[in-house]
């Protein structure tokens, strides 16, 4: 990983630079002007969050199944990144929505699902922080339930929403906007991967440090 880090970081930087250039060149959407371009960061933020959630969920299953320390590092890294990317999405979303729909928040199914999942992983971090020793397994259970309930959240909120339909709908993107979106999404995913590896590496070093402390006492 350490050897790969510099080239990967470089690639990520290049991708971000490309994305920014493409975004700047992309046509303005008819009504919203410049603010619409927040979208190019907003959607990839959610993509990043779901990638992180998937990582944390899968790792949590392993933590519960065989107590794997490696899986635990991925789980906590995934949770932290889920909260990070989710926060980015939750901030960029209302900024965009205010211009597009005139409101800061709407009970649209994707927003609510994302918000709830974000809360689950905030809870994950709270348990790990304040739960004392042995909280890795407890947090893993939270992540597992949260990931398992995600489809139900979507389904229930979807039906819940269709009772009170609003005319706002996430627009489909014309092709000229699709390319910068794709590049931006790729850049975000690369960033996610980089940050994940950094965080897992940090956790590894912490574990090594703990082992040294323990060995010192022997």
């Amino acid at each position: 990983m350490r050897k790969a880090f510099a080239p990967l970081a470089l690639i990520t930087a290049v991708l971000f630079a490309t994305a920014v250039l493409l975004i700047a060149q992309a046509p303005y959407e008819s009504t919203m002007g410049l603010v619409q371009k927040i979208f190019y960061f907003h959607v990839p933020s959610w993509i990043g969050m779901y990638a992180a959630i998937f990582t944390c969920g899968a790792a949590s299953v392993l933590v519960l199944a065989n107590g794997s320390a490696v899986a635990d590092r991925f789980a906590v890294a995934g949770a932290e990144l889920a909260v990070l990317f989710g926060a980015s999405g939750l901030v960029t979303g209302p900024l965009w929505a205010r211009k597009a729909w005139g409101v800061w928040w709407t009970w649209e199914v994707r927003l609510v699902t994302a918000l709830l999942l974000w809360l689950v992983f905030v809870a994950y971090l709270i348990v790990r922080r304040y739960g004392g020793p042995g909280s890795e397994k407890l947090a893993a259970a939270v992540a597992l339930f949260g990931t398992a309930v995600a489809p139900f959240v979507y389904v229930s909120v979807n039906f819940w929403r269709t009772m009170h339909p609003l005319t706002t709908v996430v627009p489909t993107l014309p092709r000229t906007m699709g390319v910068p979106m794709a590049v931006s999404a790729l850049a975000f995913l690369m960033l996610f991967y980089l940050l994940l590896m950094l965080r897992v590496g940090l956790a590894e070093r912490q574990a090594t440090l703990d082992e040294l402390y323990l060995a010192l006492e022997d």
Binding site: P133, G134, D210, Y213, L214, E217, D218
Partner: protein, 236 residues
């Protein structure tokens, strides 16, 4: 499931347990056999309770393993616990229930005939007259005696006791000690964690000194325990 899970020795093999950076147990190796009363001696925080918890399958070791008669707990399954009796500091009693109800519940849980076992246990604990009073009304000594009987109700092979003499008067200590000796004579493996050296001196057949999670010494119990303990562990 007809294979017997009974065993006549328990082997602790290089067991360590840490909680984050705190090492509770460090590479403990010890074997206890049927008929022995092993005194686990050490100051508070030495790791005695953690070790008993591991032996009772309530805690898993970070490294190393415990074997019951040369078999792994995983291979023996849940029925291993029919052979283990644990008495911890917290006593494991429901204060809202009566002594009789507490014993009956655990008798049923262990699948033994409550009608026969419970009255006998109440007698041995000396609680015959208070059997139907709520445990919350008992003194510490009464609760201790009841808790001990609860732990021994199912006649376990491996008897794990954490400070069983707390709150007992001299007569009760005498009775409990006699009881433990009888259990060992009948083939039980008895492990008693305590920091009370006088008691251990009279009771144990072997002693294991534990300090800071490490096994300092492991030897048959001979007179002069207290002096040796002081030397091995340092004055408490």
């Amino acid at each position: 499931m007809t294979a017997s899970v009974d065993f006549d020795s328990v082997q602790i093999l290089d067991v360590s347990r840490h909680f984050g950076r705190r090492r509770a147990l460090s590479r403990i190796s010890l074997t206890a056999r049927a008929g022995e009363i092993v005194g686990l001696l050490g100051p508070n925080g030495a790791g005695k309770s953690t070790l008993l918890s591991i032996l009772a399958t309530l805690t898993t070791p970070s490294t190393g393993e415990v074997r019951y008669g040369d078999r792994r707990p995983r291979d023996l399954g849940a029925s291993l616990r029919t052979c283990i009796g644990l008495l911890a500091h917290e006593l494991f009693l429901y204060p809202e229930l009566s002594a009789r109800q507490n014993l009956a519940f655990f008798a049923d849980l262990y699948g033994i005939d409550a009608g026969a076992a419970v009255p006998a246990a109440l007698d041995r604990a000396g609680l015959g007259t208070r059997a139907d009073d709520a445990v919350s009304e008992f003194s510490r000594g009464m609760r201790q005696r009841l808790a001990l009987e609860r732990a021994l109700l199912h006649r376990p092979r491996l008897v794990l006791l954490d400070e069983p003499f707390t709150g007992l008067d001299d007569e009760a200590v005498h009775l409990v000690s006699a009881r433990l000796r009888q259990l060992a004579a009948d083939g039980a493996i008895v492990m008693v964690a305590t920091h009370d050296l006088e008691l251990a001196e009279g009771l144990a057949t072997r002693v294991a000194f534990v300090r800071d999670g490490r096994l300092i010494a492991d030897e048959p119990a001979t007179p002069g325990l207290r002096a040796r303990y002081r030397r091995a562990v340092g004055s408490a």
